[in-house]
Structure formats: structure tokens, C-alpha cells
Symmetry: C2
């Protein structure tokens, strides 16, 4: 056994050793909180820029959330030293003493992380939730004496605060708070940064409900000659009651607890950022509150039953949770990349269509009147484009179209096209239709003499930054993605009876597709691009970066790939990109800088965009295979598409190798399977990813084949060949529809409702809030 139990509600891990970096996560609208099973923590809160309230021991760089976060002894965490009257010392959850526990379970719940630990006839039920509305951790410990002797215990919550500032940092115990407050001045040098500094919550508090026997707030004094596994202060009968005077702060408290035989005791703590002492005192009132960030289960209106239980759990519980995290947090940024913003909020269309509409309008309000979308969408007035958003990318316009397509199909709300709003550089209001038309025109304008799309300093692949840095290089992927976008727009224009314009964009789509077929087809797959120096890459004669997944997926999506080409693509992808842990984004991974291509080739082989199993890319592939003719009608497509999706899910047989719990889909697993097999399959543990929405979409529109359009539902399921049945429940035009699919001799579609119109595989006439059962019989291929 892998020591993991999974269910719709909870995931249990029974050892702190088998997957030391396995994490759970919580969030609310103000913060994100991720913790390893062993007790290390990463937390960010928005004020409005992302900030920490607990740091490491050295002065850390500000950076975006990184994959494969490195945990180390001394990493910030939430620890509880336990000292028994028999002299035994251990810690919860497991770090930092690393003492063997009699029982250990780490639980990812919907709204909590929980540990159930037993040691020396004591049971510890430790749980953390987040407050609903503010950045605050709510910790509860229930301690049960399983023995027949009264027990006296010292409990020392020990919460890292760390090195926050070289300007000013300190911490002290505040008796009336019954806790510790650390204070720091975010370091700065320019006067113009002062207003931001002034507004920031640069204090961290740990507040207890139980009486405090002693405390420490100075890291060096607390540790003395000891290490974190046996600090000098813990070895004494009481802590040193130290203040941190320009020393690295820590919050450690001592509670002396007696637990009568067979009785239990409950303790609570709050931990989080605060503004000042008065604010801290307000927080203290929440000790007695029921703090919880969200309902126990996120209802997306969609649930499935299939023979694949891992898939069921992911789609019914963990994925909606991850979708919801993306929608609510915007990845803890104030300037999400336009590409991410539009894809993350695909999920809003299912979960919260009004929010989806609002966000589409927000994005379009930042569009330039020449049609170009900016690199990032600014979410508040002081937000600025940061990090990668200061590098010009060429693909942002593409993502408007799948968004609008899904929005219209799901809501049938074509009135949105008539809404009016200004451009960022033109105050006059224009219709959404005009915004989208210009977005398409902009894509069309950004092509070269060969009718291929200019890549500039990167497309979907951010770090592919030197292919077109001199202004000449082109991207086959972007050309195909532009064609796909134009195809969508043509379809929408057709629906609203703008046939002339529709034809124009169909022609444009064809022009781009033709150019890609003429210049991009390498014999067995599509090339990735042509460099400034007019060298084609992503082709068979390349030693590294020989084949990229994205051009294949999007040649299918755009309609460029004929049946013959599609079959060759499927064969090549299986041969070159498939690994036991999923489908790589390119292979072989680059092992050195290729200055024709750029920064992507400098990333470590098999990580991130350099040939990992980059799930976002893999989800495009599955979606393409499921939904686009002629790929969909190839018999093997269904099984491959399912395999692509299934291999993103951590399962019992590869859990340990991936090192991750099945509570989210990470942005990648290590690729480079043939080059560095020892690392292949490892999870990035980063749950920020464009994968989620496309995975969800692939299940709904692809595997179950529910295609909505203009009030109609078309049913075109693509069950894997081994499945005999499956069912899905989904809101369809606000009706509650359940669809049962079974294998049979020939296709039949029946329903329990008289008022539905059924025509072939097409159903219409859904009435809001009504409940429908549709039964589908589908033959094996």
C-alpha cells in the first residue's frame, strides 16, 4: 500500500516519511496556505500585493510561487513540541524533532488540514482552518488521554516568523493579548515606497486561549546551542521569556496542561498578520469563533460516476476545489497574466457565470484599441505589471476566444456581445463584438510574409524568448492557435447572422492553416517554429527539442491536420512524448542553452517548460483528441485522450514516485524520462495551473461529449474502450440534467421527460430548474 486513503471528502496519508513533501492547501479570498504533512508551511496573503507573515532564516527574495519548493530543516513551519512528565520529547505534526510517533495521519479535508497522532497513550487531533474573510490561521488541538493515569504535559506551539527585515525586526510577549507580536518594517530605501510600507500589515501575532507559563520570541535565544530538534529553551523547565531586539523573531509559548485519565482537553491558537496592537486585540476575539473559510464541499453543479474512482474523486471534489482556488485567488497576484486570467476564469463560467462575465469585461476594458490585449490584467488601481508580464508575449489575444465560446455555449447569453465598454487608450464605448473583432484583427495583423504568426519574445511558452527577439521568428503553435481563435469567432459570427464577417475569418483560418501545412509539417509532426535566423526547430533532425506537443494539439484543434496527418501525430506523440507519468511537452529536453530558442532551453531538463509533463499542454492534447474531427473519430483517440488525462492524476501505483497526494493536479511532473529516469514523475507540488479548466472541459465536452450551443445539447460521448457505463450530472441551461451512458448495440438516446425535443444525438427544450434524466446507449467502436 502507498499509505494513502482517498475518498470524495478526505485524503489520508498515514506516514510522515513516505512522501515528505506531500502537501495540503487551504485558501480564502485574502490568502493561500500550503503545508507539508510534516509541518512546514508556505503562506501568502494579499494586502493587496502578496506578502508573507512567516519567513525563513535568511533574507528571502520576493518571487512568484515556484515549483518544487525546497523544504529544509529550519524552513518556516507550525510546530508543537510536546514534553511529557516521563521526560519524552516529540513534536507535532512531525517536524522538527522527527521523533517516531505511534500513529500518524495527515488529512486534507475540504476546509481544513488535520493531523491525528498517537504517542505514549495520548491522542492528538490537530486541525487548522482559515478565517473566512481575513488572513488568519485558526489552530485547534484536542488532546485525549487514552490511558488510565492522569498526565501532565508541556505543550509548546512554536510558529516560525523568521527574518523579515534588515531595517527593523523585533518581537515581544504581550500579556493582555495572551500571545506574541512580532513587528518589522519591510525594508526599503526610496521615499516613494513609504506609503506602501506604511499601509502594509507588518506585524505577526500568535494568540493563545490557554494560560501561558513562559514564552520565547528571539530565535537565537530560544535555540541557544540546541537545534530546532532540541532547542535549549525547551530543555529547561520554562522558556527564557526572551524578547527579540533586532534578532530574528519566533513565537513560542509554553502551556502546562493536565489531562485526567480518559479525559480530553482542547486548546486553540490564532496566527496571522496584523496591523497593530489594537488590531491584534480584535483578532483575539476570534478565538471563540467558528473560523472557516468555505463550505465543506464546493458545488460546481457537475458530478460524474465512472469506473475510474480516482477520476471520480478528482472531478467531483478536488478539481472544483482547485478551480475555485484559481477563481478566488487569481494565483495570489494583482496582475495575472492575461493568458492565465482568461483560462483560469473558464472555470467561472461553470461555477459563477456572472463573475465570468465581469472578468471578461474587465479584461476587455484593458485591451488596446488596436486590438492587442496587455500582458497582464491589473486587478486593482495600484497594481503593476511585474516579473514575466514585463516581457512582451504574442498569444494573449488567443485566449479570449475559447473563453467567449464556452461562455456563450454554457449561458446562451449572446447579449454580452452587445455590451459596450471603452478601450484602455480610447474612452469611447465599443461593443464586446467590436472588441473581439479587433482582437481577431490584431492576431491577423501580427503575421509575416509567409502568413505565419510572429512570436516576439514568447507565446504560450513564456521562456521561448529568443526565437523572435529580432522580430522575424514565427511560431507554428501561435499560427495554429490564431487559426483556432478565428474559427471560433467565425462560428460565433455565423450564429449571430454576421455571415460576411464569418466568411472572412474562416478564410483567414484557412490561410493560416495552409501556411502551417506548407511550411510546418515535418513529415510526421508539426514543427514548433522558425527562428529569426530562418531555422526551423521542433523537427526530426533536431537532437533536443525534436518534437513539441502543443503544435500537434492545436493543428488538430484548428482543423489544419488532415486525417492522415492526425494519425501520424498520434503515432509520433505516443512514441516520443509518452512516459509512464504522462505526456511530455517536448522531447528530448534541452540540456544546454540554444540561443536560437532562448530561456526555455536553460531550464533544468525535464522541469517546467523544458520537457516536463506539463499538464496544461497535455490537457490541450486531450481536449483536441476528444472534440475535433477527424481526430475524434479515430478509434484510438478516445483511449489516448483518457490516458492523457488519467496520467495527470496521482494514483495508488505511482503516488510515492510522484511524491504528491491526489488532492490537486500540479502544473507539472518531471519529464525527461529517458534522460533522467531517476527524477521522472516527481510532482512540482505547484497547484497554480491552467490545466484545471481544460481538464474539466475535456471531461465534460470530451469524455462525456456534452456540447452545448444555442439552447441545444449535443451528446457525443467518447468513453474509453474498456468502460461499460458512466454517468454525469450537470446544469444544462440551468436545468438539472443527469445523463446515464451504457454500452449497447447501437446509439440510442432516450429521456424521462416529455417536454424535451430529441433529434438524433441532439436534445433541446430544457426548462430552468427542471430535472431531467437522459439515457444514452453507445456502441463500442
Amino acid at each position: 500500500s502507498d499509505g494513502v486513503n482517498r475518498s470524495q471528502d478526505e485524503i489520508h496519508l498515514h506516514s510522515p516519511l513516505s512522501m515528505p513533501n506531500a502537501t495540503g492547501y487551504l485558501w480564502n479570498k485574502k490568502m493561500m496556505f500550503q503545508m507539508t504533512c510534516r509541518g512546514f508551511a508556505n503562506a501568502l496573503h494579499m494586502q493587496p500585493e502578496p506578502a508573507k507573515y512567516a519567513y525563513g532564516q535568511s533574507f528571502e527574495a520576493k518571487t512568484f510561487l515556484q515549483p518544487e519548493h525546497h523544504y529544509y530543516a529550519g524552513h518556516p513551519g507550525r510546530f508543537f513540541y510536546i514534553k511529557l512528565n516521563n521526560g519524552s520529547l516529540f513534536s507535532l505534526p512531525y517536524e522538527p524533532t522527527r521523533q517516531k510517533l505511534d500513529k500518524f495521519t495527515f488529512i486534507q479535508k475540504q476546509d481544513a488540514l488535520r493531523w491525528e497522532v498517537e504517542k505514549d497513550n495520548l491522542r492528538f487531533l490537530l486541525e487548522v482552518k482559515l478565517a473566512e474573510d481575513i488572513a488568519l490561521e485558526d489552530w485547534r488541538l484536542e488532546l485525549i488521554n487514552l490511558g488510565d493515569q492522569d498526565t501532565y504535559i508541556d505543550i509548546y506551539p512554536c510558529f516560525s516568523i523568521g527574518y523579515a527585515s534588515w531595517m527593523n525586526q523585533s518581537a515581544r510577549f504581550i500579556p493582555q493579548l495572551n500571545g506574541v507580536m512580532a513587528e518589522y518594517i519591510t525594508p526599503y530605501q526610496k521615499a516613494e515606497d513609504y506609503p506602501k510600507i506604511k499601509a502594509s500589515m507588518d506585524k505577526t501575532v500568535l494568540i493563545a486561549d490557554a494560560p501561558i507559563e513562559s514564552y520565547d520570541t528571539s530565535t537565537p535565544q530560544f535555540l541557544g546551542e540546541g537545534h530546532m530538534h532540541c532547542p535549549d529553551a525547551i530543555m529547561q523547565s520554562t522558556l527564557f521569556n526572551s524578547s527579540a531586539l533586532y534578532e530574528t523573531p519566533i513565537a513560542v509559548l509554553q502551556h502546562k496542561i493536565s489531562v485526567p485519565a480518559s479525559q480530553k482537553v482542547k486548546l486553540s491558537w490564532l496566527f496571522g498578520p496584523c496591523k497593530n496592537e489594537a488590531h491584534a486585540m480584535q483578532l483575539k476575539n476570534r478565538l471563540s469563533k467558528h473560523n472557516t473559510a468555505r463550505p465543506a464541499h464546493i458545488n460546481s453543479g457537475i458530478s460524474i460516476e465512472t469506473p475510474d474512482n480516482t477520476l471520480n474523486q478528482m472531478v467531483n471534489t478536488w478539481l472544483p476545489r482547485q478551480l475555485s482556488y484559481h477563481i478566488e485567488s487569481d494565483r495570489l497576484t494583482t496582475d495575472p497574466q492575461t493568458r492565465n486570467f482568461l483560462q483560469d476564469h473558464l472555470s467561472s463560467i461553470w461555477l459563477h457565470p456572472k463573475l465570468a462575465k465581469k472578468n471578461l469585461l474587465l479584461a476587455l476594458s484593458q485591451q488596446n484599441k488596436n486590438g492587442a490585449m496587455p500582458d497582464g490584467i491589473l486587478l486593482h488601481k495600484d497594481a503593476e505589471l511585474k516579473y514575466i508580464n514585463q516581457v512582451p508575449h504574442s498569444d494573449h489575444n488567443v485566449w479570449l476566444f475559447p473563453f467567449v465560446e464556452l461562455y456563450l455555449n454554457e449561458t446562451n447569453d449572446y447579449s454580452i456581445l452587445a455590451e459596450t465598454l471603452a478601450f484602455s487608450d480610447d474612452k469611447k464605448p465599443y461593443s464586446v463584438e467590436e472588441h473581439l473583432e479587433r482582437a481577431c484583427e490584431y492576431l491577423w495583423s501580427q503575421r509575416d510574409h509567409r502568413n505565419l504568426s510572429l512570436i516576439k519574445q514568447g507565446d504560450w511558452c513564456d521562456p521561448m524568448n529568443m526565437v523572435g527577439i529580432r522580430g522575424k521568428g514565427v511560431s507554428f503553435w501561435l499560427s495554429l492557435a490564431s487559426a483556432y481563435a478565428m474559427g471560433i469567432w467565425a462560428k460565433i459570427l455565423g450564429t449571430i447572422q454576421q455571415h460576411e464577417k464569418a466568411q472572412k475569418w474562416q478564410d483567414a483560418q484557412q490561410t493560416l492553416n495552409d501556411a502551417c501545412n506548407d511550411l510546418g509539417w515535418d513529415g510526421n509532426w508539426y514543427a514548433r517554429g522558425i527562428t529569426d535566423g530562418d531555422e526551423k526547430f521542433g523537427i526530426a533532425k533536431d537532437k533536443e527539442g525534436q518534437i513539441f506537443l502543443n503544435p500537434q494539439s492545436w493543428a488538430i484543434l484548428s482543423g489544419a491536420a488532415s486525417q492522415d496527418k492526425t494519425e501520424k501525430i498520434l503515432t509520433a506523440v505516443e512514441a516520443k512524448l509518452k512516459t509512464p507519468y504522462g505526456y511530455c511537452m517536448l522531447a528530448p529536453a534541452y540540456t544546454q542553452m540554444d540561443e536560437r530558442i532562448g530561456r526555455v532551453t536553460q531550464k533544468f531538463p525535464g522541469t517546467a517548460e523544458n520537457g516536463s509533463i506539463y499538464n496544461h499542454a497535455a490537457s490541450f492534447y486531450a481536449y483536441a483528441l476528444y472534440t475535433q474531427e477527424p481526430a475524434r473519430t479515430l478509434t484510438k483517440s478516445k483511449d489516448i485522450a483518457y490516458e492523457v488525462l488519467a496520467s495527470m492524476l496521482v494514483s495508488a501505483h505511482d503516488c510515492l514516485k510522484r511524491g504528491q497526494l491526489p488532492n490537486f493536479i500540479p502544473n507539472y511532473f518531471r519529464g525527461a524520462y529517458h534522460q533522467l529516469p531517476e527524477a521522472a514523475g516527481r510532482s512540482s507540488h505547484l497547484f497554480n495551473t491552467g490545466t484545471c479548466a481544460w481538464f474539466y472541459r475535456s471531461i465534460i465536452e470530451g469524455l462525456f461529449g456534452l456540447q452545448q450551443h444555442s439552447g441545444k445539447l449535443t451528446l457525443q460521448p467518447n468513453l474509453p474502450s474498456t468502460w461499460e457505463s458512466a454517468s454525469i450530472s450537470k446544469k444544462i441551461y440551468n436545468a438539472n440534467v443527469r445523463i446515464n451512458i451504457k454500452r449497447g448495440k447501437q446509439f440510442t438516446l432516450s429521456t424521462d421527460a416529455n417536454n424535451l425535443n430529441v433529434k438524433g444525438n441532439e436534445v433541446s427544450g430544457f426548462v430552468e430548474n427542471q430535472t431531467y434524466l437522459i439515457t444514452l446507449v453507445v456502441p463500442h467502436d
Copy 2:
């Protein structure tokens, strides 16, 4: 005893526990290397921007060298695990196992750091030097078996490499190198940063001379479930031979050594940054070389003998070393602040006058034609103004004048004034004299209607950034410093017979001094400034920041302070600013932001500019008391000035409280003695400081009273009242002069040389390379 032995040559510390953060340092022109007695290390090398080759475990922020660096378990270090065949495990120097050693001595030598350790009948002599010309650590271990049994030992050098990059980091063992190479790509996102990245030495090597039994290069694999004090790998018979594949690198080797009874064995390692594998192989050749960065002793041409042995050692050995570090490293920056550059290179005037001249011309070549000096001096073509140099400060011009004064006095090379060079914004050549005239004019132009100098966003006190942010606030210190600068310039102009101009600057000096006396005198001391809002501060009615040291020192230097005022100043400074650990820069320290004053009030009370014993400021005070009438002639001045200087030196009675060895003068000791007595006196451990040159100057021109001018030497010694004799040897106009001073009834000056002209306390006629003995008898006051 404090466990410290001091001598001219070496400083010995006999415990790793008494002063855990005590450090020694080495440098060459490419790097700086600082290590604690226990084995933690900080190293920076220039390529040409400062870079690290060993990092902590989290992704560290790039920042300038900070005071009170925080060392923690897991901090980068150079460690040697020792495993004996009796199973005992300990480590050298002391971290990370922290096992008790039988004997421990940490030695700061001139050109090496050394440890002499005994444990279990084994003696370990461990030493590190730097290569002379490149960034490279040369480690040697001599192991002596003191017993009568042959011994078998496992030695594991364990050198931190740490978290260098989220883009790409790895490490591997290279057999032909007999060592480990770690590789990383400095993380970046913008294509324009690539050329810098490409040129940088982003590899780190550890190379051994002895055979390697096994190795580890992956931190998580090396540690396993162990901590740094007992890594899993060390607990095995051999290491895991791990490669770091996008994991945090470390370099650990296992050597199996046998040492026959009473015999010794020697081992060597090299550690440092490198470019590539070929470069690493070149470095390997240095294993057999005698790598050493400098001669055993830096000869400044100056030495003293006084009753104060701590002072003798500092002035004769450790201070020239620190001066030399400043001259050669420019504080590991490529854009030293103009203020620092001109004061650090005061030392070049004594140690290397040609370099001093070159640097003055370099600084003046970056002057604006309006006379303004820039905020930093760029040392190479790609250097940029960074950090604090992006904030406009008002004092940079001041520092030209003490520099030129000392240069002319020491060298008598007035020809420099006729050298010509361009301004940064005017290609036409102008004489140095014209540059300096315009520098003075610029200072004169930057005053308000009250004849007080505008402070802008800070003067000498960098973080005093809000006093004049609206363009109105003024600085009494800067007004006085400008007056002092003009006074110097007037004297120089007088010397070169430019009497009219000289008179103009004397008048200007008087105007500024008068304005300060009219508006700045607060009754018992001078105020610090007047804010934009027209509020005077640094005055008796202020609760915090009531008195600042600098305006007092510079009112004496500028000649503003009458005898009456000077006496009041001395009394106030003794009462308000003196502490057992030295003289604070202001008191009481600010405990909260004062938005009238700015960032200085946000620093932690008693640290840095917020009321620490900021030695740079204290050295101005000593220099003022020693050299300027009427202060000098006040009886108590001599003893106070000596006290000010002596209290900067770590001595036997306060070593433990300061936590520092007497091998350098730090930039500060904690002040706020009355507010936070528990922390007062702690060293910043930062040896970058403008103090050194002014301390040296105070000893030479002040305590010994050697005033050089136009080929003459005036002798005006200011021995502390308790001293009966003292002597100094110094190059005077390139002659070797020794001056013996004794107490006697009345002043007499005699010499062994016939060819010297003696007139009162004035001597002239020195001939280059001749040796002279001058004997001085001075009465008690």
C-alpha cells in the same frame, strides 16, 4: 579571562561558545571571505558585480552587506565531519555537530583563518587562505595522531552550495576533477539580462587532493531524515553518491585516512566559483600551489608604541589591514557611494598615494559641470547606481575637501590641482582646481534664504530622507560640513596664492557658520536640522532624537563653535551620548516613525543610524576635539577624544558583551543604552565603515599631533593625561621619521639630525628616504 589572546600578528579565541558570532575575514581584489569561529561563512566575489558561490537553503534576496548578519543552523558554512573508528562523530571547526572538543582555538592571522582543534588524541590544524588573483578558497588540514595507536578516520568536507536558482540547479561528482561541480543558471526573465547571465561564473567547485571514497551532491539526499548535525549519509559507511537533479546542491566528500601513531597527514581542498569544466580543471592545478592573497603584514609606513596595547595592535596591524581591505575591495560594490569612496580612499593617501590620486581624478571625472558630484562613483563601464545610490543625497561634494587637504598635506603634490579632466556632461578639460572650485560653488548654491544647506533626501545620514523631501528642509550638519569644506578650500587657495578666492570662501564659511549659530544653537548644543514644515529637531524639547553627535563635531571642525559653546557641547555629549561602549550618534533612539524626519526613525532603536554607537560619527568627534581650536586647548578634550577612540576597540573587559574579536572596528555597536540596555554594546560585525580612515587620521594628526603642510611638520601631540610617553614612526614626505614623546616640565623638540630645521614645534627639511629621530618633551596640561 575572555578567552581571547591578542598580539600584533594573531588573535586567538579559545572557545566556540563565548562569542558564537565572532568572525575573521580575508579578502583579495576579487573577493571577500568572512567566517565565524564556528564555521559559518559569507563570501562574495566580483564578476564584476558582487555574487555568491554558496547560498542558504531558501532563495535569498540580493542585498548589500548587512550589519548583524544572522547565523542559523543551516547557514552556509565550511564543515568537516570527522568519524573515528571508535564510532565518535564530531565536526570542524565546530558546526554543525556542535560536539564538545578537547581543545579549540580560532585564529585570525594576517593572511589566513586557522583552527587548532584537539579531540580524542588527534590534533587538527585547519587553515584557509585565499588565492592572490582569483576568487578561490585554499583549505589545508594537517592531522596529527598524538596517540600511540594507528588511527583510521573518515573525513568529510561538507561545503554548502545551497539554493542558487529556480531555473536550473544541479551538482555532480566529476572523477577526473576529483571533486564536485555544482551548476546553476542565475534566474532571470528578461532577454536583455541574458548577456550578463551568460558571462557570469555560475558554477561552484570543491576539489580535493586525496582519494575520494564516496560523495554526495544533493542536499535532501545527503540529509535524508537526519539534520545537519547527523546527516543520514554520514551515518552510513559510505555516502550515497547522489547527483543533485534540480535539487539544492551541496558538496560532500568522504576521505578514508589512516594516520599511524605519532604521525601526521596533510590534505588540501579548493573551493570557489568557476566558469566551466575546463576552468575547473585549471583550478585543480592550484592544489599544489602556495595560494595566499597578501603578505603576512600590511606595511602602512606607520606604527605606534603607547601604553595602550589594544590601541597599538589595532593601529599597527588590524587597522592597516582594514584600510587596505577598503582600498582594494571598494566594499564589494561597483558603484561605491561617493561619500564612502572618498573617505575609504583617504587611506590610499597613506598606503598608496598614486592610487589616491587616480581615484580622486576618477571621482572628479564623474562630476557634473554644475559642480555636483554624483551619488556613486561607477568603477567599470557596465556599473549602475544601485540601492541607496538611486536616492539623491546632498553631501557628496563635502568629501572632496578633506580628501584633497590630506592628499596635499601628505604628498605636497600641488601639481594635482593643475591636472585637467572633463566633466561627465562636458567633454572639455578643466583643471582639478576648477573642478574643486565648482564643487564648492555647488555646495554654496544649495542653501536656502536663511543661508542653511538644503538636505534633499538625506545628507551623510542616508536614511534622514523626509526632512527635506519637499525641497525646503535644511541640515545644520550639512551647513557646518559645507563651511568646513569651504574653509579647507580657502586654506588651499591661500597656499597657492589665490588670496581673493580664498577670501571669498572664508566669507562663505563665515556666513554658513553664522547662520548655524543664529538658528541652530539650542542653548547647550546644535540642532540637527529644520524640516520642510519649518520644525527644528535634534533639540532639548524633542523626546526622541534630542541630540545628534554630528552637528556638534562639525560645528567644532567648521569653527562655528566658540569656546563657550564648545564647552557646553562637551558637557552635553558626555551626559547624553556617552555609554560604556562608546558615543552614540543620537539619543534617545527613535522608537517610531517620525514622518517629519524619515526612514532613520524606522530603524530598530540603537542600531545603525538610529542611535547606535556609530563609529564613523564618533571618529569625526574625536578628530574635531583633537585638531580644532578652541576644542583642542580645553584640558578635557584630549581625554575625551582618547576615550571616544578607545571605546571603539574591543577590549578584554567587554569582549563578550560586544561579541566581536579585536580584529577590526565595526561600523557600529548597539546604542540605546538607557532604552535597551540588554542589547547595548553588541557589534554589528560589519567591517565596511568610513570609521577606519578617520580613526587613523585622529591618531596621527590628533593624538600624536603630526600636522603636515607644504613640506613642514608641525608637532602638537594630545596624549591622554595618564600617559607618560608614546612614540610613532611614520613616513613624512617619504622620509622615515620616528618621534618619541615623553612627559616633562616644558615643551622641547630635539632631533638627531643636523639637516632638519626646527622652529618651535615646526620641523622642515626632510629628505626622501632619510631616517630621522625626533624627541619631544611635553608637559602635563
